[in-house]
Amino acid sequence: MATKMIRDVIRDTIDTEMARDDSLIMLGEDIVGGNGAAGGPEAIGGIWGTSGGLWAKYGPDRVIDTPISESAIIGAAAGAALTGKRAIAEIMFADFIGVCMDQIWNQVAKFRYMFGGKSRCPITIRMPYGAGFNAAPQHSQVIHQFVTAMPGLKVVMPTTPADTKGLLAQSIRDDDPVIFLEHKALYGVKGEVPDEDYVIPFGNARQVTQGDDITILATGMMVGLAEKAAADLAQDGIGCDLLDLRTTSPLDEEAILDSVEQTGRLLIVDEAPPRCSLATDLSALVAQKAFASLKAPIQMVTPPHSPVPFARELESAYLPSPDKIVAAATRLMSYRKG
């Protein structure tokens, strides 16, 4: 057991997987850095520090620095994966999905289906995402709501160092295309990571706190905010069953429904704006399948229907917070029918 930051867990897991599978390649912008520059290759090693040393260890045929060409990055990873390689593609900011959406949505996600089940495309598309850095509207967004809606993709959102290791190893070894979403605010989070080799199967939510009064569903950075809120609520004697979904596709429906059937109250914390989102999707699921258990209307804590703003005051007003979660929980607990 070692204590590590998530960014180092990502780098080390890629290293381990590249060592165990010669067919694994990795592509992205500046994942090496410094190519064609006086400072030489490896000047950067990935702007998020998630690929340092890998180029020197595995060489330019496997750790492939690319031009700023997101469509070609995804297409190249996909074409290699269709023809026998296994590939990791890094899109430097998830916001850039807009320029390579066709390759993800119309190509990667649909190959196996369109080709009658006669192909496999083992590709892990890593995308750093999320707000909290005053990075303004085009470098702060979440995209899980789009990719979760796309049949053919699996969507992974790790929140702890130990989960990151097991979920990334599963993503890379998976034979289906995986969108692996890394919250930028969590890269520096430290935690214990088991030394042995392990994978975490998809579709298994993690129970973060146990409680009988409110089910809280969260992903990514929202899990930590909800955990703080749950600690505050516990002081007031309100018990929260907080589930970190880990993967939004596949979704652990069973854990969600079991929890709501126990608590009768549902609070969803989502970093996406409120329309056509993960929060609305989970609300619909529970309304359809656990309606009789509900003691109060479902609460959603989300940003408003707005782009992510730049200024510190605006961004913090935009984002969910422990206080907003506590307020929503209080509304849930005080709800009286009629």
Partner: protein, 320 residues
């Protein structure tokens, strides 16, 4: 390049199979037998066959919405293709692809593609695999896809990574309903490809031998580690953009003229018989065999099993 009698007969058979497959589809579509959008390749046979006669199963191609010819030339099962276009569960893609997405990765055919320009980035990835296998990756596109940003990104990345990718631009002079003279801003696709830093040549896309010889040179060049290359093939589209296209954009007498003067199959026949490499009787025998194959394909497709509602969610994932 001198080809053996067997190689000439095979090339002719492939071209003729494409032509008859497409002509038969044209008729069947008119009868209302086939659903969806279909884009016919007839007229461009020498391009697909002139390229693919050099390739083995570990060489890769990616195609376009006008993909039947590339599929046949690369070795996809013709009866399986016809069944697919008929939407049968016995089709090459179990009725999930239809005309526009036929693929068979086992023979190195990475798919026709409904999105113009989407194939080029994927061909770069197949080029990564090809580089480690000593083979090549071929990106078929046309004068429409040549204007897509994805094509530019792919050409640049193939040059940067020095990959054995050959960008084959079949210039049939129409991107859908718009003329090449309007839509291609550069002097030509060839000068544009050259500007990306790759070897770029042209060949006559209705002459199998012109395409075949040019491709030998390019494949040798790319597999020797020189990076990507491009070839522009001047060719003709005998039908509309899609089946049902009234083609009002064509000039008066244009279709009659290209069918008379720019027919790849007639050109091949004349060359090989004038040179006494094959006799008309040899070629007529191939014609009869191909006719029988297409008849069999259509009959089998009409009799083939249909998919059911239970098949809708099959093959979305390997495991979920």
């Amino acid at each position: 390049m001198q080809l053996s009698r067997e190689a000439l007969l095979k090339a002719y058979r492939q071209m003729k199979t494409i032509r008859m497959f497409e002509e038969r589809l044209h008729d069947e579509i008119a009868l209302g037998e086939i659903a969806g959008f279909t884009h016919l390749y007839a007229g461009q046979e020498a391009c697909a066959v002139g390229v693919c006669e050099h390739l083995g199963p570990r060489d890769y191609i990616i195609s376009t919405h006008r993909g039947h010819g590339h599929c046949i030339a690369k070795g996809c099962d013709v009866i399986g293709m016809m069944k697919e276009i008929y939407g049968s569960l016995e089709g090459l893609c179990k009725g999930k692809s239809g005309s526009m997405h036929i693929a068979d990765v086992d023979v190195g055919m990475l798919g026709a593609n409904g999105i113009v320009g989407a194939g080029a980035p994927i061909a770069v990835g197949a080029g990564i695999t090809a580089k480690s296998n000593g083979t090549v990756s071929i990106c078929f596109s046309g004068d429409g896809a040549c204007n897509q940003g994805t094509t530019f990104e792919a050409m640049n990345m193939a040059v940067v990574l020095k990959l054995p990718v050959i960008f084959v631009f079949e210039n049939n002079h129409y991107s859908e309903h718009t003329g090449e003279a309007y839509a291609v801003g550069a002097e030509s696709m060839t000068t544009r490809a050259a500007a990306f830093g790759m070897k770029a040549i042209k060949a006559d896309g209705i002459d199998f031998f012109s395409v075949y010889d040019a491709m030998r040179e390019l494949i040798d060049y790319c597999t020797a580690g020189n990076g990507p290359a491009s070839i522009e093939l001047d060719c003709e589209r005998f039908y509309g953009h899609f089946e049902g296209d009234p083609q009002r954009y064509r000039g008066k007498g244009e279709l009659d003229r290209i069918r008379e003067e720019r027919d790849a199959i007639r050109t091949f026949r004349k060359k090989v018989t004038d040179a006494r490499l094959l006799e008309d009787t040899d070629l007529d025998r191939v014609d009869a065999e191909v006719t029988a194959l297409i008849d069999e394909a259509v009959a089998a497709s009409k009799a083939a099993r249909r998919p059911t509602a239970a098949d809708v969610t099959e093959d979305v994932y390997i495991s979920y």
